[in-house]
């Protein structure tokens, strides 16, 4: 294996490691984004209740403040 071959393989491996890290970051971000909006324990739960009740705004705010 020549010097150029070794250099090429090293660069290719470095590229693949970077691709893997970017992929992991993106998947983590996508999962975090999804979790924050669908997690029933999260703040969106209060919003979901407000929407379901279809309250006027001032009553909705009162409802939200008493629940959180």
């Amino acid at each position: 294996m020549s010097k150029n071959d070794r250099l090429f393989i090293a660069i290719l491996l470095l590229s693949l490691i970077m691709v893997g890290m970017i992929m992991t970051d993106n998947i983590n971000y996508a999962n975090t984004t999804a979790a924050s909006t669908v997690n029933p324990q999260g703040p969106s739960a209060a919003r979901q209740e407000i929407l379901n009740l279809k309250l006027p705004l001032h009553e909705a705010l009162y409802w939200k403040n008493t629940r959180e």
Binding site: M1, S15, I27, N52, L57
Partner: protein, 395 residues
């Protein structure tokens, strides 16, 4: 042997694709959310309003957009808070788009406006025209010009199409064929034709042309390929496109892009998200958005393009891998006829090393690696290479 390998790869990919369509047909959706058609599929949203129609907040529950494009989603959504009924809620008028994510921004804005209007029973005459005929005509024109450049073996015309594609798809519209679209399609998501015409045009053009005449998209229309070729021809290194590594290592390294293709599809199915496909450096380059790591990766790919002809395309690009697999079945292919003297000139000049001589030194063109640049057609001293169609009898 190589054909059997390609066949296995194609069948495996088809199975993954069909599996994705099946999995996502069984997904239940929240009936209380309303949706807009984003770049990558449906965007599910919630909204709260006062009884006078003033919007208090808009929240995105689920989306399939590219994460780097919508990093400022929260700030975008805050624009809707406090908007009374009188506000038209039109992108570009009273709502500012997320830079580089116009389609996503428009999808959300249109969906919020329509939901508000339906709740308040407003008949809003201000409908934005979303369909643009130019987004069909110009890509078609570029594709047909590319096919003509290939058929006529016209290098200046090829460069004109390459630069035109770089400007139109890359710089002006930030829309190019991406593995994101393919994974979205595999997950069963697709935007409406009028909402995202480019999504359909790019998929259609690239795969139909691959099945017809080869990797025309890769060789003539891809904006990132154009930039890589420009960098390479800065002539920093010697002018030949032949790699300086052992041919065996070069050929074996090309399998990596197929592995990446399947890995991305598999991860997309596993997480029900196309986020795994957001690795392509041209997304960072043309959108201007990306993590620090993505920018470093882009810089690495552009640097390597100076020394190795289309490094990203040859070894890593999953889209190139897929269009390559499709081009195996192309109707028209480059083949030598009986006038071939086995001089090996075509093998030497091929920039992607897609030509290898057989036992009798007759050149065999690997259509999965060929980018249809027609360099071999121009270089052959015996004019023995031709674009041959089905049913052609070799003389």
């Amino acid at each position: 042997m190589k054909f059997r390998l390609y066949l296995i790869l194609i069948l495996s990919w088809c199975l993954i694709f069909m599996g994705g369509l099946f999995i996502n047909r069984t997904t239940l959706e929240n009936p209380r959310a309303f949706t807009g058609n984003g770049y990558g599929g449906p965007i599910q949203m919630h909204m709260a309003m006062s009884d006078t129609g003033t919007i208090t907040f808009v929240d995105v529950k689920q989306h399939h957009e590219t994460s780097s494009y919508i990093s400022h989603l929260e700030a975008f959504l805050k624009q809707f808070s406090g908007r009374p009924t009188q506000n038209p809620l039109i992108l570009g008028k009273d709502i500012d788009a997320i830079s580089g994510a116009t389609i996503t921004s428009k999808a959300i804005t249109d969906a919020v406006r329509q939901k508000r209007d339906s709740i308040m029973k407003i008949k809003n005459p201000q409908q934005t025209a979303s369909f643009q005929l130019s987004r069909i005509i110009i890509p078609l024109f570029l594709t047909l010009t590319a096919i003509a450049a290939f058929a006529l073996r016209h290098n200046p015309l090829r460069w004109a199409v390459l630069l035109g594609g770089m400007v139109y798809f890359g710089i002006i519209h930030h829309s190019m064929l991406s593995i994101l679209q393919i994974t979205q399609a595999g997950l069963g998501f697709s935007p409406g034709f009028t909402e995202n015409t480019f999504w359909w045009m790019l998929l259609g053009i690239s795969f139909l042309s691959a099945l017809f005449i080869g990797r025309i998209y890769c060789g003539y229309l891809c904006p990132f390929a154009a930039i890589q070729e420009i960098l390479f021809f800065l002539k920093i290194r010697r002018s030949t496109t032949a790699p300086v590594i052992t041919p065996a290592i070069d050929q074996q390294s090309r399998i990596i892009k197929y592995i990446l293709l399947f890995l991305i599809m598999g991860l997309a199915l596993l997480f029900n998200s196309s986020a795994a496909g957001n690795i392509e450096p041209f997304i960072t380059l043309f959108s201007g958005h990306g993590s620090k790591l993505a920018w470093v990766f882009l810089a690495l790919m552009l640097s390597l393009a100076v020394f190795s002809f289309r490094f990203w395309c040859q070894y890593l690009c999953p889209v190139g891998a897929l269009t390559g697999l499709a081009s195996i079945f192309s109707l028209y292919k480059i083949k030598p006829n009986s006038a071939c003297t086995a001089c090996g000139t075509c093998t030497k000049v091929c920039p992607t090393q897609a030509i290898t001589p057989d036992a009798e030194h007759i050149p065999q063109i690997d259509t999965a690696e060929c980018i249809a640049c027609a360099k071999c057609l121009r270089a052959c001293p015996a004019h023995a290479l031709h674009i041959q169609g089905p049913g052609h009898v070799q003389k």
